[in-house]
């Protein structure tokens, strides 16, 4: 984008405006769910299963109920009386709220204790006695499909196996033919491990049911308050919860990353408890509950094959994947496809043929999944294509940059129809890669690598040139329980020319209060400082589907822009009335209408706003406001090229990311400072699964990595100082040419790091290393190659 069109006082698009939300956060005056304390509020704590699969023989709450301050113990039997012990998932599956017969994963909710104090509730949890009878456990998703595997979902009468779905995309026959005719085929198995978003704030709620008014207010850590309200009304309508009497308030949210999209059993139990007891009930999970029971991400076992000509021209891609969904398909997946947007796996390359298939299976693990800061399944797809591209480069002994440049979709071929059916809106992939190579000093690093290799030192440089797919989404491809994936803005201009803008999304740190105000400022010339942005309260905000999948700017941002343009249209009529001219004779510049050829005759937006309430034309309604519900015509396809430079310690196997250059293209930029912040954060959440994070299970289904002792988030020490740059290729279909940006880096970074590590070891014959690339994994590899020191 060129220079900002508005002055620093107005602070429209392109200004690095300091965030409007920060004054409360830096003073400790944010208002998160656990900060809410209501009169008479009770506390809830949850009894969880120590077994991954077990029959519940009995639950004895008598000792717990004797503890002073423990008021109730809620079990599956309690909820079954109201038919609330099961709930539907967004994927047309079902999951338990509380079990009546058996538990399906370790840490599953078994009962809930309601008490006057959080410590007493915890005492109550300790005192509840549950008698279990362990059942055979299915941990390995491949074994889950074996003919003799125990069928896990015995609640489904006709279910005879553990398969959830088979999904495929592309032309299998044409792809097979292209493989048969190719010169080179490379194949690679890769596992994208189960990980957890681990936002620093865990999940929780305060459910407050007012028996007199019949109104339920739930303060809740949710990224999608409106959708939750509708889900509550649909699921609990039969017990009297009616949508107009449900208010979901999503206050300040301490990070979401997809983990706060699902409706977890804890929320539902707290609501049920408040309805039954008639008092506010607070439930806030602790970190171990958060890691062990909330929705996971990834867990994709991928087999990828790439065909090419001798000169490196890619001809076809074939992928077969097994997806471990845990005991229920509770994916927070708003697309109409069970494998989400995995079909973006053709990536940035002009592949003519592709075929991808995914089978989903049940295992004795927590249900899910969620996206972990990406559109659902995009990170898996990008890891797959970017990794197999490097495998091909290695096979052909080509430089990975050269191979990518040879196969990129040419800039002039956009919009590009991919082999798996997406229409990429815009892109200039060579520009981003060239820029990244220039910044990092690619040639010099290759020389350094050769010198170091000669000395026995291990250094790797490699690339990920990813294409993201964000902004869910067009209603032909997306819905939540039939709700189309539009988003919304309701904009009011006050008589003094200040504005209130409410949106259907919900920031969890992205800075909407600032960027949305800048969008309104850009369109109307009202200073962003004077635009009050609100979201997250279903009683006041217009209906929207929430914030995830980098959809806020592509959808609600667009709605903000269009609502402002509607306001501007009415403002034009008022200005014509005030200036006694035809609206056709008026020209707009940010902040005012003036008469063509007579610039001194003008009216500012503030003067027009006052007139809208004091001196509007006869026959026109008073006021200056507009609403927009925006159903995007297409997704947006941000992209970028990342280059990681790594050094490997031969003594410890430790991978150090020495440099990381990220060139991103998210179209036109609202606030460069915030965009950079989003990229930085995404990069750290890309480094995390590449090097550190994994939730795994032993053969009995016991979780390993279920606390911050074992599940390692990157600290400031492992994280490099990020080097970022931009190219700008506007989205042709978005009202102001923007694309989503919050997740590009999470998607693009892991393969850059993995490719760099493989590059460091390539001369030893290493072709692939599974993530997370831990020191132990690397050290064992070095030892095998006789290189460990």
């Amino acid at each position: 984008m060129s220079e900002p069109r508005t002055s620093p006082e107005v602070c429209g698009m392109g200004h690095s405006m300091k965030r409007k939300e920060d004054p409360r956060f830096i003073r400790g005056k944010g208002n998160y769910v656990d900060d809410i304390q209501l009169p008479g509020m009770l506390h809830m704590d949850i009894v969880r299963s120590p077994f991954a699969h077990a029959k519940i023989k009995s639950i004895d709450a008598s000792k717990a109920l004797k503890i002073p301050g423990v008021l109730a113990v809620i079990t599956g039997e309690t909820l079954a009386k109201y038919n609330l012990h099961w709930m539907p998932t967004l994927m047309s599956d079902t999951q338990m709220v509380l079990p009546t017969e058996k538990v399906m994963y370790q840490a599953q909710e078994v009962a809930a204790v309601i008490a006057t104090d959080r410590y007493v509730a915890a005492d109550g949890v300790e005192a509840v006695e549950v008698d279990y009878e362990p059942l055979p456990v299915v941990v390995d998703p491949f074994k889950a499909l074996a003919p003799d595997a125990p069928v896990l979902r015995t609640d489904k009468k006709d279910k005879k196996d553990n398969r959830i779905f088979h999904w495929q995309a592309g032309d299998r026959a044409a792809t097979d033919k292209a493989f048969a005719e190719s010169d080179v085929v490379v194949k690679q198995d890769m596992y994208i491990p189960r990980i957890h978003v681990a936002s620093i704030e865990t999940c929780g709620c305060v459910a407050d049911f007012d028996r007199v008014s019949g109104k339920l207010t739930v303060y809740m850590t949710t990224q999608a308050p409106h959708a939750v309200r509708t889900v509550f009304a649909l699921v609990a309508g039969h017990v009297g919860l009616s949508e107009e009497k449900i208010r979901i308030i999503s206050p300040d949210i301490g990070g979401g990353f997809g983990g706060k999209v699902p409706v977890y059993p804890g929320y539902v139990i707290a609501v049920a408890a408040s309805v039954v007891i008639g008092k506010p009930v607070k439930w806030v999970e602790d970190r171990m509950e958060n890691l062990q029971a909330d929705s996971f991400a990834r867990d994709y076992h991928i087999h990828a094959e790439l065909a090419a000509k001798k000169d490196g021209t890619m001809t076809a891609l074939r992928i077969k994947t097994l997806a471990d969904h845990g005991y229920a398909d509770a994916a927070a997946n708003p697309s109409k496809f069970p494998a989400g947007l995995f079909s973006i796996c053709t990536g940035s390359y002009a592949l003519k043929h592709a075929f991808a298939e995914v089978d989903g299976v049940y295992t004795n693990k927590p249900p899910g999944g969620i996206a972990y800061r990406c559109s659902f399944r995009v990170t898996e797809a990008v890891h797959c294509i970017e990794r197999i591209t490097d495998v091909l480069a290695q096979e052909l002994k080509m430089d990975p940059a050269e191979l990518r440049l040879k196969n990129f979709i040419p800039p002039e071929k956009f919009p590009w129809k991919s082999a798996l059916g997406w229409e990429y809106d815009s892109g200039n992939y060579p520009a981003a890669l060239h820029k990244a190579m220039e910044i990092v000093g690619y040639e010099a690093l290759r020389k350094e690598q050769a010198e170091k290799r000669a000395r026995g030192e291990l250094m790797g440089i490699c690339i990920s040139s990813f294409t993201e797919i964000v902004g869910a989404g067009p209603s032909k491809q997306f819905d939540i329980l039939g709700l189309k994936m539009f988003d919304s803005c309701e904009l009011r201009i006050h008589p003094t020319g200040k504005a209130l803008a409410r949106f259907g999304t919900k920031s969890q740190g992205q800075g909407h209060e600032t960027t949305y105000a800048q969008i309104i400022a850009e369109e109307l010339g009202i200073p962003a400082a004077q635009v009050q942005v609100e979201e997250g309260d279903t009683d006041t905000a217009p209906y929207g589907l929430g914030t995830y999948a980098s959809r806020s700017t592509p959808t609600a941002g667009a709605a903000g822009s269009l609502a402002a343009r509607k306001v501007r249209e009415k403002a034009k009529q008022i200005a014509a009335h005030l200036l006694e001219c035809s609206p056709d004779d008026l020209v707009w510049e940010p902040g005012k209408f003036s008469v063509k050829g007579a610039p001194s005759r003008s009216k500012t937006i503030q003067e027009i706003a006052l007139a809208a309430y004091t001196n509007h034309p006869q026959g026109m309604e008073a006021g200056l406001e507009a609403v927009s519900y925006y159903d995007p015509p297409n997704l947006t396809f941000p992209f970028g090229s990342y280059i990681a430079v790594v050094d490997i310690d031969r003594g410890t196997g430790q991978v150090k990311v020495r440099r990381f250059v990220a060139v991103d293209d998210c179209g036109n930029i609202i606030n460069p400072m915030i965009v950079d912040g989003q990229i930085h954060g995404g990069l750290a959440m890309g480094l995390a699964p590449a090097l550190l994070e994994e939730i795994s299970y032993d053969d009995e289904g016991n979780i390993t990595g279920g606390s911050f002792m074992d599940y390692l988030l990157p600290t400031a020490v492992e994280t490099p100082s990020w080097e970022t740059a931009k190219t700008v290729t506007p989205s042709p279909h978005h009202p102001f040419g923007a694309k989503g940006v919050g997740e590009s880096a999470t998607v693009g970074a892991p393969p850059a790091i993995a490719n760099a590590v493989v590059d460091a070891l390539a001369h030893l014959g290493v072709r692939h290393v599974e993530i997370p690339i831990t020191p132990e994994k690397v050290w064992r590899l070095l030892k095998e190659k006789g290189l460990a020191e």
Binding site: I26, F257, G509, M673, G681, L683, T715
Partner: protein, 158 residues
């Protein structure tokens, strides 16, 4: 559960409270004294969201019993602003986009303040080491480091 009368100073104000032996300092601050700027992110001393100054040293208040704070001077994020003027660390976090969701921010700023109180010219590596007990999931740390460097520069010029 036995109860104890304790006295402590929080952000300069003296409080006398009766607490259970097991009450954590973070809960005393958040629930009894309603100073909710100090957050809880893990309860196993890993994330640092609950960091406060105890007699000038940064401690994770989820792993300190309230009774252990008897007679101490505690500073929480609410105590950083003095006479309506933000602390240079607060200003720098705002100026440098050192926060996003704001949840780790109070603990991160407190750790930053403790570092700068003993060293006004820390290197980047020293800053990263100092905040390595404070997890941030949003920012990727670069702007937090930049904010602490900027606050250090401001403090050196004072």
């Amino acid at each position: 559960m036995s109860r104890h009368d304790i006295q402590l100073s929080v952000n300069g104000a003296t409080h006398r409270v009766q607490v259970e032996s097991r009450l954590l300092l973070v809960h005393l601050l958040r629930e009894n004294l309603r100073l909710t700027g100090t957050h809880i992110g893990c309860d196993t001393t890993h994330c640092g969201a609950c960091t406060v100054l105890l007699d000038g040293d940064p401690v994770k208040s989820c792993t300190v019993l309230a009774v252990q704070a008897e007679g101490s001077q505690i500073t929480t994020v609410e105590g950083l602003e003095q006479d309506g003027k933000l602390h240079p660390v607060q200003e720098a976090f705002w100026e440098n986009h050192g926060l996003q969701c704001g949840y780790c921010t109070p603990g991160m700023m407190i750790t930053g303040c403790a570092l700068l109180a003993r060293d006004k010219n820390p290197s980047e590596a020293q800053i990263r080491e100092a905040i390595s007990g404070n997890l941030c999931r949003c920012t990727g740390y670069s702007n937090i480091v930049k904010a602490i460097q900027s606050a250090a520069e401001h403090l050196r010029q004072q």
